[in-house]
Subunit: 384 residues, 2 copies
């Protein structure tokens, strides 16, 4: 039976050397907040880095101070697919985030005021560079694996291209090699909802002691719309109303309406997600396009990757559909890269990558056994 | 060669008898603004009623006073599939609209002030009832055909159920027998964008000499997102940027962004669409579910229909996908109703129903010949 990880205390890496971002902007200093689970082995060869999605953070497993389980707790822990009895797992909040790492809500050391809109837009490349500092900080010579879903999967791709010899395995789940025009369009509408909220104050809402709750809630509602499949929404909510009789007014009436409103409010109010971080993360997604520097040829872009890959997609995911994963797999095969691909049947849409699913768990677990086998110091043990 | 219809002058039917709506609300009086094209024949047997979609209006063909062609001008006119050399075509702005028919922007005769949010929510059923008044007003004993796309297609279904002996043919294009949870969800987010705009003033924006432009533009952008297919957006805009270099800020950068912004602004500012009408139309769509009164059995709901049907869907339409049309066709077949079904290959998504397409036009034209044949007085002529 799986044990539990218990309460995890986040740690902070403080980097006092300046970081030049893709945009050319320089961060004079920054913090990366991270959590770790399991024990680093003697030769530091069992370390795994997990990259989070758009609204995720470093709290990926175990419980936080409020006893809230991590966002991927069902897959990471003792006896779980990413088994913390064997692996030392690390997850950090991305630069530009709002959960402890330096971001728009942090103090700008040069002005003594909150960055707000002055925080430079970070990219996937910048995140990877800052995580490489974390790798050195933790004295990890090479990651046994990088794992990420959605935006996190893109980050894993970026790692495999920018630091090919720093990872042995790359697990790219429910991701895409770049956003489609439709993906960008959803981000455009979400950003507009935030930026047109009168409480946005051109990004200086914290200085005005407010937050653009309405806009952020709308952006989140729109996000949820793309995370769930049409079928699942149908199964889960259908056209059910909260009351039998039609209201003939604009109050909340359908269950799906009530669900989306709840998700929006929770995100903007209870979880207090920073609106500037949301803008930044969506823009980093829009910009992600590693093939662009290689004549828009993804195969060329991935030619330098030496890691072994697991690519996973979900049948009902229409945000990053299986076809988008096929593009990645094709590019890897063009380079004779070692790649396993699994297309998991699920009705849960893009959200499926976070949810329990027997087939998915089986593949994930089997692949992680392979990752374990490839750990030099564990080799003898796993041979038994 | 097709002639042109020239400039068309809208007409207004003024109804001074009260109309009770589905909600129970009573409209003391109302106007329906409409246009007609072609000539009504002697026994008034060649009349066709076209029903418009969410943001459509009565100006379906010919030119308006500003020389703007109607929204379906490519399919309606002399020599076109709906041939005005043979048919007398009528199109009216729906009740609750903002293009001349009585709606939220009209004066409430009981208060002398603009209705605004006090205008009652109308339903598909109400639109059909008011259009039946128009039919009587025009002294048309029976429509040769009812034609509608998207929301207009739903209205045609409603006509076929509520006034089965008032139409001989029903053309239901790119429609659905009810909205899915996902369809409703998009409407929920669109309405929220409008209603949370500080210029909305709880619907009394006209009294405040303003309009919720931001919210309406966002709603329209979201609409456009669902009208276009992912593929078409990819072909048309891809990830193209307005300038080569990345901006690393939140200014308009991608072509799709620029397109959506333009569509949003145009709708909210230049076309000055009434925000309360937009709310009303989306709510009427949410409510449309004729099977609900028949144990959620669409076959039972359509059992009374006596018209012959043409049902058309488009392969890349993900708003009302071909599967939604299949539901309608199945229900009609369950009743041994005469139905033709065409699934048109198109990459244009939901918008396809408005756009030129050889296959679509061929089917439309062929079916309209059948409609013409079924006109009693034209029978001899078409036999030749």
């Amino acid at each position: 039976m799986a044990q539990t990880l218990g309460v995890i205390t986040p740690q902070v890496m403080q980097v006092e050397t300046p970081l030049t971002l893709s945009s050319g902007a320089v961060l004079p200093r920054y913090d990366l907040t991270y959590e770790t689970y399991g024990q680093l082995n003697e030769d530091a060869s069992n370390a795994i880095l997990v990259c989070h999605a758009l609204s995720g953070d470093h709290h990926v497993a175990g419980l936080d101070a409020d006893n809230k389980p991590g966002w991927w707790d069902s897959y990471i822990g003792p006896g779980k697919p990413v088994d913390t009895n064997h692996f030392f797992v690390v997850c950090s909040n991305n630069l530009g985030g709002c959960r402890g790492s330096t971001g728009p809500a942090s103090l700008n050391p040069e002005t003594g005021k909150v960055y707000g809109p002055d925080f430079p837009i970070a990219t996937c490349k910048d995140w990877v560079n800052s995580q490489y500092e974390l790798q050195k900080h933790l004295k990890i010579p090479q990651w046994a694996a990088l794992i990420g879903g959605s935006m996190g999967g893109m980050q894993v791709l970026q790692w495999a291209m920018d630091y090919p010899d720093q990872l042995r395995h790359a697990l790219v789940i429910a991701a895409a090699p770049k956003l489609s025009a439709q993906n960008i369009a959803f981000n455009v509408v979400a950003r507009r909802a935030i930026m047109s909220d009168p409480d946005f104050h051109e990004g200086r809402f914290l200085e005005h002691n407010t937050t653009p709750k309405q806009g952020l809630a709308q952006a989140r509602m729109l996000g949820h719309l793309t995370y769930l499949s049409d079928d699942l929404m149908g199964t889960k909510f259908g056209r059910e109303r909260r009351e039998d009789a039609l209201k003939y007014n604009y109050e909340v009436e359908f269950q799906i309406e009530s669900y989306l409103n709840y998700q929006g409010e929770k995100f903007a109010t209870k979880q207090n997600f920073d609106a500037n971080t949301y803008l930044l993360m969506t823009k980093a997604l829009d910009y992600f396009d590693p093939a662009a520097e290689f004549d828009h040829d993804l195969s060329k872009a991935l030619a330098c990757a030496t890691a072994k890959f697991l690519v996973v997609s979900f049948t009902s995911d229409w945000r990053f559909s299986p076809e988008r994963s096929h593009e990645i797999v094709k590019a890897l095969l063009d380079n004779d890269t070692d790649v396993c691909y699994a297309e998991i049947t699920s009705e849960h849409g893009h959200d499926a990558f976070l949810l329990p699913n027997e087939h998915y768990e089986g593949i994930f677990r089997a692949y992680m056994k392979r990752v374990l086998k490839d750990i030099p110091s564990q080799h003898d043990e796993t041979k038994k």
